[in-house]
Subunit: 166 residues, 2 copies
Amino acid sequence: MSATPLHRVSTGERINDNEPAGRLQKELSSRGIRLTRQRRVVLQVMESAARHMDASEILEQAQKIDADITRVTVYRTLDLLKGFGLIDELDLLHLRGHRHYYESHGPRDHIHVACIRCGKVREVESPLYEDLKKQISRDCGIEISVARTEIGGVCDDCRGKSVSGD
Amino acid sequence: MSATPLHRVSTGERINDNEPAGRLQKELSSRGIRLTRQRRVVLQVMESAARHMDASEILEQAQKIDADITRVTVYRTLDLLKGFGLIDELDLLHLRGHRHYYESHGPRDHIHVACIRCGKVREVESPLYEDLKKQISRDCGIEISVARTEIGGVCDDCRGKSVSGD
DNA sequence: ATAGATGCAAATATTTTGCCGCCAG
DNA sequence: CTGGCGGCAAAATATTTGCATCTAT
């Protein structure tokens, strides 16, 4: 049944193992964007992120490195990065309120699969997803620049793994 | 290349033509949920919605029918419907700020395809999408209850339709 | 009759903005 | 040097909650 293999990317740990350190910095300076001390810190936080932090968590992490950084700067830097498509903004199906989460955008799009009971989030890539995007691009006549898929459900663990009969 | 056809659902008009009037009401009462005057109005607004309204717009529409309805009731009713999976919550890639949009959840999931330039939103279904969800369900061991895909890019119109050579 | 809903107002939470002094390039 | 940037405080949005009252069943 399952012809095309599905690639698991991560289950809750950091996702940026394949991300060259300083990638965001490079991207910004190559665009002529001024690299301030505060921005460097926020970028560093984003790159080394465990995962899926909201603005407050990013602020918190940034202040551990440099106490001078303010919430406003975090918002402004996130906006900047978003504008260049260097980070993605998710809400993880609002399983935990209306917060927005951010993550450095890697080379490939991935799907966020979240358990609505335990909150665990897994990230997957799939050739099928790439096919789908190609088809939509062709059929809708659109040059895709951002794609986001979030899927929620109850995971095996939370269903007691006894997915026997049903 | 494109084997599976992609079904266009709508381009900006109402999506609920196939939705039986009173569906949400029926769903709620069958679950033993009390149907108050206010709830009926909000449900009616959701069902007859042109499309993609945020909480304020829903409130506005509801008050046209019954001026007594308050914003709080709208939020509480939306939460209720969300909890039962009867409506979906979208943010349309935050193209227009951080608002959340709601729409009555039809029988099939659909993908929202938005032009990041003109803001036009198109909804599509695709067998490929169903395949993708099946694969993820199988491979991640998850019983999917909600799926949301939002895709952004520049549409033909906004690229001057001159998508000749590339 | 009674559990559960609504309304009001206020509390929270989240994000944005104006203005001025400061710093990266 | 200089124009963009960060900080501060406050505004603008968005969402949630406590409590008294009312109503659908």
